[in-house]
């Protein structure tokens, strides 16, 4: 659990520039400026590679907040 969170925090920092220690519970596509459609794709691709999973497009359009992604991964 902790590991999933750390890995995800790494990616949020790397791609969306969200500081690692920041509380991300409320972060979503609409309220974070850096989270645009291009970065969303980048984020999904990076999650696929970091967690060694495959996310199909139908799912990836639903993963629009930190919490949703986290729930999906755990």
């Amino acid at each position: 659990m902790k590991k999933v969170q750390n890995n995800l925090d790494d990616l949020f920092y790397l791609i969306l520039k969200v500081p690692k220690k920041k509380d991300k519970k409320k972060i979503n596509f609409n309220n974070l400026k850096t989270w645009d459609s291009i970065n969303h794709i980048k984020l999904i691709l990076a999650i696929e590679s970091k967690f060694k999973i495959r996310i199909n497009p139908d799912t990836s359009v639903k993963l629009m907040s930190y919490q949703e992604i986290f729930n999906f991964l755990k």
């Binding site: 990616l11 790397l14 791609i15 291009i38 794709i41 980048k42 691709l45 990076a46 999650i47 696929e48 590679s49 970091k50 199909n56 497009p57 990836s60 359009v61």
Partner: protein, 587 residues
């Protein structure tokens, strides 16, 4: 192989998120920066990330500027504003037929026609921007469902092949137009694994993970071959490199070469090295061995593909290799950065990196069957274009070595030079030697007084000028024909009637140390005097590599005018007698 997080990794296994991490780190210091303007019919985000990563690993920083998605023609040519192009070093144009047509075969014709007119337009940019390189993707075969409809598929494939051939023809004609063979990449990856249909509709990224790696890797190799001068010399080890085992311990019959499956690996490697010599690569040996054993092995082992005569320089002794490689560079008269070192021993490689950091060291895989792969992937010997002269070079370096040996026997330099029976043939720059001239202008470092580089267009412009004159120098001696090895370009100085200036004066380092340069200068001055020119001005602009010619004009009785310029009055000039070299002119 790539270093990611301090670990060596095969480029095929590097995960995307590590690529992102790597490129988010600081840019390289002291590295060249390449501005790339990419125009694609798809979303190139991931492609660019990989490309940036590979180029960074090859010591090249990049800055990307991408056009709007799927706006090929509008992007480059619609408005008057082509400021992006003016700022770019490289344009990449990638059109993908399959995603673009989305299975609409009827449009193949008009699509290909559009691409062709795009090529014409791209070539027109040539005139407005200097030194711009263009990479144009060729077209993959149609990934169609009509595999079995014989006539139909055949027809379309023919059209695509014709189009691809057309691109290759253009690339032969224009030196700065390069074709990226994405078709080959799709063959390597396999058609079935090339496209990622599932994600395309959402992200407009058409390729699979593996395609991205291969495409961007090959693209980075192409970019490097355009931007870097190919390396000149491969320095090889012997034991466990071109044969298996240790000669000193196992003996000629004990080493692994040919015959067994293990021996075949090394024999194949030797065959590959032999093909490198045909690309113009010079070979040298640096090995810790007894020379006598090695000579015997070259003579007697029936499976040796490489012969002793294939090596232009041989250093078999017990000295440290970083010292031997210094000697190799010196004796072959090439810069250290043009040497590539290939050795199975990690110790030797590390030592080389530490004491001779300019040398390019290849990270040799443990498994000998992967040696060829390692050399190919290094990209060091990717020739962008090869001239006739390149093929001759190997032979010529050997001539040089022979001459150097002879030199050590002759104390009197003049006598030595006389017996070389040198002959110079002088022509103007013309169609048949044009390529070679451009190559020399851009490659010659050591004896190059101004190191002024011209690309093909610029040279053409220079030649269009009425008041100019060029001398292309071809040298022969008793050891053989050195080919075209020198170039002199002069033109009239602006705002003055009687002053000519030497615009370029360069000689290939292969023929230095023979006083050729003095004879040519004297010949040039005599020619100008015949034209009733009174003053000639020459300049020496210092670079890191041309210090050996810094006193050239002073040695020839020019008078120093200021920091860079030297001038001579031909009315008062005393010409030296030339009894060393026979000079002839040819039109």
């Amino acid at each position: 192989m790539y270093i990611v997080k301090n670990k060596m990794q095969d480029y095929r296994k590097i995960p995307y998120h590590e690529v992102l991490e790597n490129i988010s780190l600081k840019k390289l210091k002291k590295a060249k920066k390449l501005k790339i303007y990419g125009i694609y019919t798809f979303n190139p985000m991931k492609l660019n990330n990989f490309l940036e990563f590979f180029l960074k690993n090859k010591n090249l920083n990049t800055e990307f500027c991408d056009g709007q998605y799927d706006q090929l023609e509008q992007e480059i040519f619609s408005g008057n504003d082509n400021s992006i192009i003016q700022k770019s070093d490289l344009i990449i144009i990638g059109a993908d037929l399959n995603t673009k047509l989305s299975y609409n075969e009827n449009k193949v014709d008009s699509y290909l026609k559009n691409l062709r007119s795009l090529v014409d337009k791209v070539l027109k940019i040539n005139n407005t921007k200097k030194n711009l390189q263009i990479i144009f993707w060729n077209t993959t075969l149609l990934n169609t469902v009509f595999f079995n409809v014989k006539n139909f598929t055949n027809k379309i494939e023919k059209k695509i092949n014709t189009h691809n051939n057309f691109l290759f023809k253009i690339s032969k004609k224009y030196k700065n137009f390069h074709v990226f063979d994405v078709n080959k990449v799709s063959n390597i990856v396999g058609n079935m694994n090339f496209y990622d249909e599932e994600n395309y509709f959402l992200s407009k990224i058409p390729f699979t993970d593996i395609s991205h790696r291969e495409i961007s890797f090959e693209l980075s190799q192409l970019i490097m071959s355009i931007n870097e001068i190919p390396k000149k010399c491969l320095v090889l080890d012997l034991d466990n490199t071109i044969w298996g085992g240790v000669l000193g311990e196992d003996g000629i019959d004990g080493i692994k070469l040919g015959k067994s499956f293990e021996g075949e690996k090394f024999k194949t490697f030797q065959k590959y090295i032999k093909t490198l010599t045909k690309r113009g690569v010079i070979l040298a040996l640096a090995s810790k061995n007894n020379l006598k054993d090695v000579n015997e092995c070259f003579q007697k082992h029936s499976d040796m593909v490489l012969k002793k005569k294939d090596f232009s320089n041989i250093k078999v002794n017990w000295e440290p290799k970083h010292i031997n490689i210094d000697l190799i560079a010196k004796e072959l008269n090439i810069g250290k950065d043009a040497l590539v070192f290939f050795d199975d021993s990690k110790f030797e490689r590390e030592q080389m990196r530490r004491f001779n950091p300019q040398i390019n060291v290849i990270e040799t895989p443990k498994e000998p069957s992967k040696y060829i792969n390692a050399l190919e992937l290094s990209g060091f010997f990717n020739q962008n274009f090869q001239t006739k002269e390149d093929k001759k070079k190997l032979y010529q370096y050997k001539i040089l070595e022979k001459a150097n040996k002879l030199k050590s026997k002759n104390d009197n330099v003049e006598d030595f030079l006389k017996q070389l029976k040198m002959e110079i043939e002088i022509t103007k720059v013309n169609k048949s030697n044009f390529d070679r001239c451009v190559q020399m202008i851009n490659k010659t470092n050591q004896f190059n007084l101004k190191t002024k580089r011209y690309n093909a267009n610029e040279l053409n412009n220079f030649l269009k000028n009425k008041i100019q004159s060029t001398m292309v120098i071809k040298l022969k001696d008793k050891f053989g024909d050195h080919g075209i090895t020198g170039l002199v370009m002069v033109n009239k100085k602006k705002d003055s009637d009687n002053i000519y200036q030497i615009d370029s004066f360069l000689l290939s380092c292969r023929i230095l140390g023979r006083k050729v340069e003095h004879v040519i200068l004297s010949e040039l001055l005599q020619n100008l005097k015949k034209k009733k020119i009174r003053y000639v001005q020459g300049s020496y602009i210092r670079t890191e590599k041309n210090s050996q010619c810094k006193n050239f004009y002073l040695e020839n009785n020019f008078i120093k005018k200021d920091k860079v310029n030297y001038i001579v009055d031909l009315k008062k000039y005393k010409f030296k007698k030339n009894n060393l070299i026979n000079i002839s002119y040819k039109n």
